[in-house]
Structures are given as C-alpha cells and as structure tokens.
Subunit: 294 residues, 2 copies
C-alpha cells in the first residue's frame, strides 16, 4: 500500500515537474497572476500555486530518487549560479549536473560560458541564464545590448543585466531607462532581470531603479551581484515587490545560503532566488559564502 | 639669474611635455626601444629616456604651476583610474581635471563613461582609456570585441581588457588567444593592454598569459583589475617584463598607492602605473585603498 502510494506520488511529481518545466520552456514572457493562461515562468513566479499543488497531495513535487529531503518548490525557483571568473569547464559541468539533478530553474553564468552550459543542459528543462554588463553595470549601453543579443544567440533563455549605477546616482534617469530598454529589446522575447545592486543604493535610488526597470519593460528586478557591497535583505525584497507590483518577478540574490534565508526571501515577495549554495538550500543545510574577492 | 633659469627650465619642461604628449597622440603603436623612431608611447614606455631628459637639465619635466613636488616622470606614466560602478559625473570631472593638472598619461574609466570623459578632456593631451570585459573577463569574445570597438568609436585611445581567466585555467589556450586577438583587431590602431589578474593565477598561468598576450598582438600586459584577489607585486612585474621582453609595455595596477610603490614597480620593469591614488603618488604621499567592494 505504502509502496503503491509512493509510486503514485512519484508519478504525479514527475508529471507536475514535466508540466512546469514545459511551461517554462513554452514562453518565458511575464504574465500577471490574474491573467495567467498557462504561459510564463510559473514554477518560479507562482510560488503560491506550486505550494498549493504540493499541499494538495503532490507533497514531493520536485523530488527525485536519491536526493533526500529536497524542497521542490524552492528548487524550481532557484537560479543555480556560478559567476566566479576563474570557473573552469569542470566547475560548469558540476553546476549543470546539479541543476538537472535537483530540478533548479536554471544555471546562471557569465556570457562567455553560455554556449558550453547550453550544450551541457541539452535535453533537460533547466534554463541557461547569462549575466550582462556584470558585475559593474558600467559598460556602454550598446555593448550591454550586444552582449545580451550574443548571449541569446548562444542559447541564453534569460538575461540578468546590471543597472548603470553611476548614471542612477547622477540622476541621469533617462539614460538608466534607455540602458535597460536596449537590453530588453536585444533580448526579446527572453525576459530580462535588472540587478539594482541594492547594497550600493539609497532607499530612493532602489525605488527609482525598480520604477525605471518596470518602465523599460524588464521582467524582474534583482537585488545584488554578489560582487558588490551587501546582498539580498528581506526589507529590500519587500520594498522591490511593493514598487514593481505583482506583474513582475523579484529575484533575491547575494548571500542567500540556507533554506531559512530562501524561505524568508520568498515570504517577503521574491519569486526567484539566485544562489551558489543551491544544493545546501534545497537540502536544508547552510552553504558557504562565495562571490566577492572570488 | 635664478628667475631666468627658472623661466628657461619651465620653457624646456613645457616643450618636452608637449612633444611627448604629441608623440603619444601621433601613434599609439608599440615600438621597440632599439628601433624607436619617434613613434610609440614614449612618455609611458621609455621611462629611462624621460629620466635622462630630466637628468640632463629639464629637472622639472611635467611640472606645472602650483603643484609642488610633482614627479613628472611618474605622472606621465600614470593611468589615473576611476572604475567604481557608482562613479558620478562629478567624480569623472574631478578625475579629468586632476589628469590635466598633473600631466597624467590618461584617465582610465568604464566603457559607459568614455564619451563623457573624452569630452571633458578635449584640448588636452591626456588620453582616455576604456576597460573592456571588466573586471571578470568572462564576457563572450564577440561582446568584448564589440565593447572595445564601441569604446574606440566613442573616443578611447587605449583599451584595457581582462583575459578569460576561466579559459586560461581550463587550458583552453587557443580560446584565450583568440579572445585577446579579437579585441586587438577591434581596437586597431589603438593599443590593447591585457589584464591577467595575476593574484588569481599560478606562476605558470601568469607566464602563459603573457605569452598568449604577446602572440595575440597586445601592446601591454597588466597585473590586476583592483577588484580581484591581490594586486601588483614587484615579483609579478619582473616576471611579466622577462616574459614579454622589451617591445611590450607592462602596467602595474592594483594597490599602487605611494611614490615608493610606483618607483618599485618602475624599477621592476613597469612602464605604466594604474592608480586611483595618482595625486598622492606624484605628491610623494600615501593614498588610501580603493577598488574591491567599491
């Protein structure tokens, strides 16, 4: 009886995972929760629905043999991240293997590595995310847009760009918005996340950064690069969610290293988590610090 | 008598400065010391000759009213650097004003800021240097080359690119060389410096990085971004000079904050210094740390 139930649950879990993964692949565009009709990054953005599915019986959504206590709802919201410039092929292989094994939403890498991870991920529902203008955001707009276009050409499913922090601080808001818009246009139809580097910004600058991201057509705002000062905080995530509303995603990244960290971020309004300690997060453990002085 | 001598020295110093600056503008290509026929970045690369000029009577080369004890030979070898992503227009204006006032070789900025500093430097011999693929070097080759081309189009006189560190560590030497070559070609006829990020490399990797930079047609090798682990060391500068020979430039950057630091680097073989504490360096003072977690 238990064994049959287990099989049934596994079958349900497997179908749900495939369905969610399929939806992710179908259309990466951003849909509001109210108007959602099967498109959008549901697994990542509709954490509540995923929780509902789980709570309705598929209590092992995202589980797969041999993983142990995987937090399926968390796994599907995690961009499994490796941005250290000294990352080797071997490191990238490990990253992709883990993403496939644990059912992470994506692997997030530097644009030089998109092609190779895309190849490594072939046949799996895991997406490739490329960072652009990373981590300073101080690259010229044309160069950022070109980097994004190239990354998409090489297989990137999503683009995480860094906002022009200096222009934001100089109150060159039109320039900041054009910078984002150029990357959004170059990446179409793939969604763009705008990294604000919240730890370097004042409260007002965070709010303005969110508003300009929304105005420029970005799909997500994202807290931190992991290379700058500070990381994701519950307060910043809640603020960003308030400013962008329900139609956009919010990605918490930088210093998210445990299940508890991740859950706090999701509760504050995050729909995606960027982490290198992803395996520890879904396994209920604490991961070690990374980023910074790589 | 003293006053006349002062006037004469000032006139000589002024002419020498103009001449050196003119040579810098005429052709930025790399000429060997032996074969030099008036082209090349003499002020920066021929520190010995500049010292000779100074020692031969123009003891105040590079001096200008009101500066005090300026080290003219050092000033002409310094790329006055501001790469923090939160740099404002005002910060860039100060950087350019200082570069003009102290006779630095250039200002070194992120590619988003090339256009504005070029405008600020108009009518002066100070060059604009743009960093590319900065600071991780993990951008796709096409994107790095595009960023370099755009920077040159916006007025960059020199390009400082970051090597693909991960590819170097993965022994993908052909890829590393092609990455550099693409930037060199995109930047022609402007010289390219290759930042090795020595603090992240083994001894062998430093040597290989120098050799590949030379093979790919770079004009300089450069130690550090200032955002990675470690900075310029006397040992690394000496090693780099040995590997690239006399025809190429060596730029010491990262943690160079005092006259003493700068002089040690020049003695070890550096022909250019990258520093944000440039004013302190030429004034015989110690500057404070910058870079890192900006």
């Amino acid at each position: 009886m238990d064994s049959d139930l287990d099989k049934l649950v596994d079958a349900v879990a497997s179908r749900v995972r495939l369905r969610l993964a399929g939806e992710m692949r179908k259309s990466p565009c951003c849909a509001s929760r109210e108007e959602c009709s099967g498109e959008g990054l549901c697994a990542a953005r509709r954490a509540d629905d995923v929780a509902l599915i789980r709570d309705s019986g598929a209590c092992r959504v995202g589980a797969a043999p041999g993983i142990g206590q995987v937090r399926g709802d968390l796994a599907a919201a995690i961009d499994h991240t490796l941005l250290k410039p000294d990352a080797t092929r071997e490191d990238l292989k490990k990253l992709c293997d883990e993403a496939k094994r644990y059912g992470f939403a994506s692997v997030c890498v530097n644009s030089a590595n998109v092609r190779v991870v895309k190849e490594m991920l072939r046949g799996s529902p895991v997406m490739a995310v490329a960072v652009v203008g990373f981590p300073l955001g101080a690259m010229s707009t044309q160069a950022k847009a070109f980097e994004a276009r190239e990354a998409v050409r090489m297989g990137a499913d999503e683009i995480d760009m860094v906002i022009n922090i200096g222009a934001l601080k100089s109150r060159e808001y039109a320039q900041v918005e054009e910078d984002i818009r150029a990357v959004v246009q170059a990446s179409r139809p793939h969604p763009v996340k705008v990294i604000l580097e919240t730890g370097a910004l004042s409260q007002e600058e965070k709010i303005i950064g969110c508003a300009l991201s929304r105005a420029a057509g970005a799909a997500f705002v994202k807290t931190s690069t992991g290379f700058g000062p500070g990381g994701a905080t519950v307060e910043d995530v809640a603020l960003m969610r308030r400013v962008v509303g329900d139609e956009m995603g919010v990605k918490a990244s930088g210093g998210v290293r445990s299940t508890e960290d991740a859950e706090k971020m999701m509760k504050a309004g995050a729909t995606r988590i960027g982490a290198s300690a992803s395996v520890a997060i879904v396994g209920g453990k604490n991961g070690k610090a990374s980023g910074g002085k790589y």
